[in-house]
Symmetry: C3
Subunit: 666 residues, 3 copies
């Protein structure tokens, strides 16, 4: 990107009154230089089959172009028109809950031929009309695309074909999935039962993997169409989202982000997060770190909250803090969803920059300061590069497998894959360690890191486990948690000693496990604290025991171990220990890896991020996620950008409540 | 009415053995002078299509007539026979949950033509047989009629026709409902999707309003048939019920009581309420106050609990206290559901006056005292009139709108419309202020009141908001809570300053809001107490601030304001404050309105109600809703009716546990 | 049986690699002498319609026979193949939730003719192949058979025919079920509505009784086929299970165990129970006591947990303690489900003796000690007979009736039939009183007991109530709890004084009841403790009051009474009192019955069981269900079998944590 982008989604279609000229004026006043338009408004442009009316689109493009505001155009396919539902009801998805009714968005079978036919036609019309417009800098494919659990008969047909290709024979599939169990064997392809009924977690997980593949294929199909029209100076992006726990929580179960991003030029996403007293910056950082993994660099925040839900109304300073938190993670764009609060329907209380009255409000006034500051600092902060030394390996396959084989069988939601991932991520975040994420497709990149953390890698092929072991052998610091290396790529449990290939690297083995009940960690260097959620009964086979279990019956087993392996070290966390204990484990590893420095002495609510800007200068961001003023020593000297003051190394920086400072090295 | 009625629902059809003569004897002994029969026993009278057998009906009428007990006859349509379900399965409702199975009552599409045809036939047979019977004093149409969520295809056809009439063009509807959002536009009437799937709250609310209209139409249709046979001295009533929270809680979402009562002569209802330690009289008063609004005066309690559910087994004295609580609110009839406890099926543990053994039990023995007392005091208490100075405005439209746009998006049930209504109602009840209710159809009646309270009027046309503002201007005390005046009659948010038309009268404005988290009320005259559930960030524009928010980031906003407007005052409650704080706000307003008197110094568990009897005398009821004796000064002198003693003004009345005194002014 | 059996379920079909020889070696090493095979693997043996392949079966039988390990063969019908589902989709059950999808086991309509046809064919093939094999000692019919809620149209047809036979006329049925209520009358059989929709608890309960009858008929049908092939030295058994609360909790709602066992030679069951800190032996004892009732003696544990779920990983000693707990209750076989942990599908974490790695683990090592010990003590412990003096009467009909008429209408799961049964059972267990169970079919056996406890016998014909009253009259100690004798066999409430026929024997009556709210027990000899869940307002009519209610309004009613009746005594528990109070009531009764001895002075965690072995010697088991060592005086002298030491009466036996001692009288 040439500069930073700041803006909002803009829907002329949804306005209860004429607003365009006034809105453009207010956008400009707020320093906004980009709007995202058009996704999800198909029924406005094509009110009847083959009848097109691009009035709204044209007038917005005209107005933005005249005002010098850039535009990202979205393809409209994630919500389809009523006439199309009436003409082709087969487009509606069939899920475990039955046949979808028309109404909500994302209710379709994305493989449906009618949907594809009409979708392609409207995309082509859109491209013809917009690709040559000067203000259009790029396109967003669809929006938050997923498979929507659609298991229509035709989808299941495709799935069986996929399995035939994967396994060739039913017997191979039966063996891989263990279908003998409960008489579920499929001895002829035509006997394949409705997959929605299966109780076989391997089959179910394979179906979800296949469904994620449909998302990848769908976006690639759209990208191919869009590229036929795309100018060289225009990009294709997509708005990915994350597992939703009322906010962006972890990796997305229904999309393989890495694969799906293959057809894009730039990764984009939406990040929604708690605010007010619960604003920590964690989700902002995690989402950004995940996005950087997709296309190897900077990314767009295509949506984030301005006011958002009622509980997210920002305190003074928070909106600005959030925007610069995104920039510190490597975002080149911060766009709000959305410009104005909508006056009807589902998301009336998902509020935009403006409230329902369109007037300047506290949020808009803060946006004005952000816009001005982003413009002023654009050249210092755009295209920021990271040089992280620590990586976390994430796996869609493990997430799905642990959905079907939950860690806590008594309460499947008690300890999910993303919970384990966040347990690791958050501990590193609180230690002011910045991380990259690695997907299973990126095992060749392991060597770029000094420390690699592997949470709950429950399902993985042997090749991946071997790559991780090799990483340690070659000198890496490998950290593996419980529930890793347990099953293969078909979620069949490895039938030798656990954790299978990792045993040698970790210097341990186990074949029993339980849920802790009044069990505590017993280790010289670690805090005595409760073990919760899961514990494996590990026997060291060469590893040193950092902690064992404080419990009369389990005391002979190891809880946390470390093992010198080849030139490296392999640490195993056999249980979910307290965050305090985990922190100490990470401190030990970071020190060993030479990564423990002054930055790690800084504790939340102060958070530090670093990068290298286009000028090749180091830039450090010091954030205060609290309502109290904080001070922090500058990690290096240079110019403090928000105040344009010179700062010496170690000089105490004052951070006002919900505020930040940025230092660029000279 | 000529006198008070006391009785029970009586089902000869349900008896496990011959009971009629014995029951009549026991009814008489208990002083009961009315029974309600026949609703819901269609399958007994018409065992097969066109075969009628009124044996049970005839013998009950014969026996009651001979005993001098009056009878209310119910039309039987709220449960239909098995043969009819088998012949016309299309009668069964289709809801969001799918097609109903036969079994429970209230499972039909009340617009279904087959249901109407057979329903009309059985009603005519019933009328022919009973209208001329001397003992029959009136008819109840159906029972607790609602629309039962039926969205059968034919119902949806009617709905589309309703929309065509309302909006004429699709475009007008799209605009009113904001259907552009998520591509939901309907560009041709024949594209109308199954309304059960909609995510558009405006469309969904309009459908519910339409469904409530079906109830009004259904009852009017029955009334028209019944009136063809009705004697001049007979009445038509209906048994309305309330929103159910395990007991009668608030206004009924599925019926527009005011409209539906149009075809009736007298309003009737059932009120079920907690008892034992939780008996407060609140639901008895609230239900009665709502009923008085429907036909402008007295009403029937057609059902209330005798023993009811196991947790409602009354303590000694409670049954009598309850009966006279109804009379103090203006009821002319108290009927139990039901005479005897049923020996089979769904409501075996919804017990009547008699237990399963038909013997005299503690409840029956208390009923005997009630019957005797009601007879003795009938001329003093019948047709009691109220002269309340305070009214509460209630709105089905706002209730429904807040169902689709819940105040608390995190937990839709946390703060419902009826919760806000009850927050206001209960505070006034505890202040011993008696109220009338006003429906939106009654805005011309505002001037009859000194104080008008408007809870959460979320959806209202401009004309209604203007009427409320005008009321204050003309000298009224208008009290408006948060979430009022926010959307129009189609649940479209007003797109100017909130709360729209009310801004001027209230002297405030706001465009942001949030959920309170450790926020307290800060006001000189109000208790420092927590704000919970909702808070608007109000800026006074002429109003005085009674309380602001005690919170570091929200302290600049107003929480409770009052504003001199025209000749009146307008108070705004921008948040849900504690009941103690709300009480103080009401005290302030009542004092200003000259309505704060000795009655307000009396606190629950003592409750006072007043009325004017047929002789034109004031009558005051002093109730003790507690297990401890209480004393209370008489508000005026006269005759204490239960003891036939003379009482002087200010004389201390002793109230025994769960007991009451009634003073009639000389 | 000639000796004790110890073993596991073994599935060659499920192996991820060749294991047979190694497993046989390990089985032998663990002292296991029996495996159960073949149930639920139909799809492996008949991969296509009419194509049979018994490779797995043959090789396992060969290997076991050679190793001298006996085999129980299961018929495979509780899970059916994919090809059969595809050819005959009508086999899948239709329940209240709709049509089943293929996938899970136990998803069929067990009356379906196609299912029966193919089921019979595969059973015959199996019998032909296995009946003459030396190692096959017996057969298990199906597995945990139930009706699976199937209400397919054909099932409902059979039900209507059943009703015609039961009632002859609709009128009789209407009367019995009270169908007049809510117009549910059925005036012609062809009007019979879909029973899934009924809200009539009598009809619904009758349907469940009918469905339980289908299970009895299904097992009898299989037994008849199997017996055509059965050798004289082979047995037929079945694996019954219990109501499931995450573990085996109480009597099975969906099977009439007593009736269903009619076709068996030996009763069998699975018992799963909490372990680790929650191991009390209660479920082991309760399940065994229930099994002994079915065929009048010893029984098989066909499944119990080895490692089981993660929370069940046994502490050291627990597996052995559990095995001998079964033996002390009269089991002749202890088999684990299952040998090895499965590597795929639904029950991957329901772990067997071996973990997923097939290696020797802590559990296996403990199994080895058990196997050796069971072999050594087989002649001392096999065919142990009980001589219990106390019986508990259990009733499927009452359980089902209380499902439709829950004791707590506010929370139907708060106090179920099995909760009341366990309240009694557990109190006796903790008093070290061993009990037998009696089913309603066994009322002639009442006289064999000194004390008979009748929990919540809510639905019973008059003949059964009379039998219980007569038992007391003849000298028995009858103990009846609340909610007994209230309804007849059609769940119609008896319409005279409650508890109907029992009034005379108990010397009490009541017609009102409520839920206790701050109510305590008031009795001289009983602890002052809370009444919870249910209380009847009892008036003594001859009975003595052991406790009344401590509550200002209920104090005049009795809570616990006892009544001398004929030569016996009848005790009534009108409320759910604390377990401490219940214990005192039982102590009083036991003392009166001469059954209170030294054994009752021993308290949990020490548990004592006794029996008579084949040599006619008394055998006492002393179990320590705790992690602390315990001592207990020997109730009689003899040989301590685990240590082969002589023990004198009253000599203190030391019980190590989770350990036991067994003394055989000389």
């Amino acid at each position: 990107m040439k500069h930073l982008y700041y803006g909002a989604a803009y829907y002329d279609e949804y306005m209860p009154c004429e607003r365009l000229a006034k809105d453009v004026e207010m956008l400009k006043k707020a320093g906004m230089n980009v709007v995202r338009i058009a996704e999800s408004t198909w029924s406005t442009w094509e009110p009847q089959n083959g009848v097109f009316d691009f009035t709204h689109l044209d007038r917005v493009l005209d107005a933005m172009e005249e005002a010098g505001i850039d535009v990202i155009v979205g393809t409209p396919t994630y919500a389809f028109p009523t006439w199309l539902a009436k003409e082709h009801p087969d487009i509606l998805g069939v899920t475990k809950r039955g046949k979808e009714l028309y109404g909500r968005r994302q209710n379709m079978d994305i493989t449906n031929a009618s949907y594809r036919f009409y979708g392609e036609r409207v995309i082509r019309k859109l491209m013809e009309r917009t690709a040559l417009r000067k203000c259009v800098i790029g396109y967003q494919l669809d929006n938050e695309t997923k498979h929507y659990d659609a298991a229509n008969e035709s989808v299941q047909q495709l799935f069986v074909k996929h399995l035939k290709q994967e396994f060739v024979t039913c017997e191979a599939m039966n063996q891989a999935f263990g279908l003998d169990y409960w008489s579920n064997r499929i001895n002829a392809w035509e006997d394949f039962p409705d997959v929605r009924g299966t109780i076989n977690g391997s089959l179910a997980a394979e179906f979800e993997k296949f469904q994620r593949g449909l998302v990848t294929e769908f976006l690639a199909w759209q990208a191919k169409i869009v590229r036929e029209y795309l100018r060289d100076d225009q990009f294709i992006t997509h708005n990915f989202d994350f597992e939703w726990h009322g906010y962006s929580y972890g990796i997305q179960p229904d999309v393989n982000h890495f694969d799906a991003a293959g057809c894009l030029d730039i990764a984009g996403c939406d990040i929604y997060h708690p605010t007010q007293d619960d604003l920590t910056g964690k989700e902002i950082a995690m989402g950004g770190d995940l996005m950087r993994a997709l296309k190897g660099g900077n990314y767009f925040i295509l949506e984030t909250e301005a006011q958002g839900f009622p509980m997210w109304t920002p305190y003074d300073g928070q909106l600005r803090l959030q925007a610069f938190s995104h920039l510190g993670s490597g975002a080149n764009m911060v766009e709000y969803w959305h410009w104005h609060s909508i006056h009807n329907s589902m998301e009336t209380y998902w509020r935009g920059v403006l409230s329902h009255d369109f007037a300047e409000n506290a949020t808009y006034r803060e946006a004005m300061t952000i816009g001005a500051e982003m413009k002023a600092l654009s050249s210092n902060l755009v295209n920021l590069k990271k040089q992280n030394r620590v990586a976390i390996v994430v796996s869609n396959e493990s997430l799905t497998a642990l959905k079907y084989f939950p860690i806590d069988v008594r309460n499947p939601d008690a300890l999910s894959y993303n919970d384990v991932m966040r347990w690791c991520y958050d501990a590193l975040y609180e230690l002011n360690v910045e991380v990259d994420f690695l997907f299973p497709q990126q095992m060749e990149a392991l060597n770029r890191y000094d420390v690699v953390v592997v949470p709950a890698l429950y399902s993985a092929p042997e090749s991946m486990l071997q790559a991780l072991a090799d990483y340690a052998k070659r000198g890496g610091e490998l950290v593996v948690t419980f529930k890793s290396g347990y099953t293969d790529e078909y979620v069949k449990v490895y039938h030798d000693t656990q954790p299978h290939i990792l045993c040698e690297a970790l210097g341990i083995e186990y074949n029993q496990f339980t849920y802790p009940n009044k069990v505590y960690l017993n280790g010289e260097t670690l805090p005595h604290s409760a073990v919760e959620g899961w514990m494996e009964l590990v026997t060291p086979k060469g590893a040193d025991v950092l902690a064992s279990y404080d419990h009369y019956n389990w005391k002979r087993y190891a809880a946390i171990t470390e093992h010198a392996y080849g030139s490296g070290m392999a640490t195993y966390l056999a249980c979910k220990c307290s965050k305090e204990a985990l922190r100490e484990v990470f401190v030990r590893i970071l020190k060993r890896a030479g990564l423990y420095g002054p930055q790690q002495e800084i504790a939340l609510p102060v958070k530090v991020k670093q990068g290298i800007n286009e000028a090749g200068h180091r830039v450090a961001f010091y954030y205060n996620y609290s309502e109290q003023p904080q001070t922090v020593p500058a990690l290096f000297g240079g110019t403090e950008l928000t105040q344009k003051q010179s700062v010496a190394e170690q000089e105490q920086l004052t951070l006002e409540p919900w505020n930040f400072r940025i230092v660029e090295e000279a």
